[in-house]
Amino acid sequence: MAIPVIAIFFFGMRPVSRYAYAIINFSNYAGDEMLRLDSAHYQNELGQDFTVTNFKYYVGNLKLYSHDTVKYTWNQYFLINEADPKSRKVTLPMMPEGKEKYTSISFTLGVDSAMNCSGAQSGALDPVNAMFWMWNTGYIFVKLEGKAAASKSPGHIFEYHIGGYRAPSNCIRTIMLDLTNNPLKSVGEEYCGIQIKTDILELLKTPMTIDFSKLSSVTDFHHAAEIADNYTDMFTVLKVENAY
């Protein structure tokens, strides 16, 4: 009798954690508009009309800095999938005790070379997520697919499957976002968060302006690194939410 009572007593209590956690929200956009799959029409730099059917990418190795010093690292990979709202919310647990101000955040866009060579994985890195090349081992870091009238591919589709962890086509990019003007603050066991905007229009331009009629399919190393240079600047900070 005593054991169940004690168990209920313990499990009924609020979990006591001295640690704060942060939630990083990735919101996918096309320019100023929130991305909507299939239905919404957008225009690329050349004014070519297109719709998006699929947008997925890996982020991992998240780090928070106080000025130039790394204060927090979370080594987990997350697959952000526009079609799965839950996936767009990344939780960073176990943040250091006490008050801390973070002035920048960085993360890997893609999957590092060690994890590309480590064999079978589960979770976000499970090949069942269709973000894995089997014939030439490696993860697809970013997948953008859609339709554009200008595309000459069958069904006017375009598909950009960008990956590659080895030179000369290394597509791993480290994204560093500055928070100096509005630092992320954590204290005790409170929650804080960052809203990050991911703009697909940036993936389609600078330095390489993508013309759907000329380049509608990238599924290996051809042009992959150029598109990786494009997506390096697709992230911006929308908002920082603090506990205090």
């Binding site: 060579c117 064999g119 079978a120 589960s122 499970d126 069942v128 030439n136 081992t137």
Partner: protein, 349 residues
Amino acid sequence: MRTNHFYILLAALGIVFLLNSFSPEKDYFLITKKDVELKVIKEFPKPLYNFKNNALTPEIFTLGRKLFYDPILSKDSSISCSSCHQRIAAFAHIDHPLSHGINGLIGTRNVPALQNLIFRDAFMWDGGVNNLEVQPLNPITNQLEMDEKLDQVLVKLQRNPEYVKLFRLAYNDSIINSERLLKSLTQFTGLMISSNSRYDKYKAGLDTLSENEISGMKIFGQRCANCHSGELFTDNSYRNDGLLPDTSINDKGYGAITGLSDDNYKFKVPSLRNVEVTYPYMHDGRFRNLNQVLDHYGSGKYFTANFDQSLKKTTGLNAKEKSDIIAFLKTLTDKTFLYDRRFADPNFR
């Protein structure tokens, strides 16, 4: 009278019990802890795959064996790994130049032997696969082979009571995912180690070789061991052996992986262990026997500009040299491996 009946009954029971305990099926297919010990002879290099994140157990190995021999992995349940990887051929496909898939489809490459895989740094003829664990994804999903979707394979396994049982035995819970599917297959294929041929016994002082075989070993050492080097008889490199590219296949090999034209028509140097039973030969199975292979290497005729310069060493082999080399190559046949009960088809009970 009653006592007599009792003893007859007892004797009969005893015989039944003895027969049962010596039953070949029971012992033959039972995988024990000892069966999954990794044993590497000291002459071999250090394994590159060490089972560190995939601890060998009889239950996981048994699951991998079941999967290897089960056509459930293919789209229409017609083809298993073992359809093309036959045990009697050191898990190559005897007498089939190119791989065969579902619906009678023909692939583009010769089925390679499966042996000593844990010593290899890359897989496939073009080296595109960087870890033994993710290798099975290719035949499973290749449209000319099993043509199945990975998620579909998992659904089929999750619905199958026998696999539900085997996965639980292997992993102590009910999760059936791709990581476990791949790791169990890796335990089965990773333990396929061939290191007990007549050549190995000769090196260990346990057997003798004939005059021809010894002569062949010497010529091999001078002419062939530049690429087929070491105790695994491969330097794990990619080389272009000067074969005329088959335009109906147009296989660029390693070049398709690296994207460098210098790497076009290069293929991974295969091990020559058990080469006697892995015919036909080369990446596209174009040569039916070892004589044809040596005729090519001896001919000095190379059809691509970037052929491997070390091929010059094999140019001009005479008939006696060729037959001695072949006699030596046959000493690499490892009957212990070819008849290893651990790798036998468990469905043949």
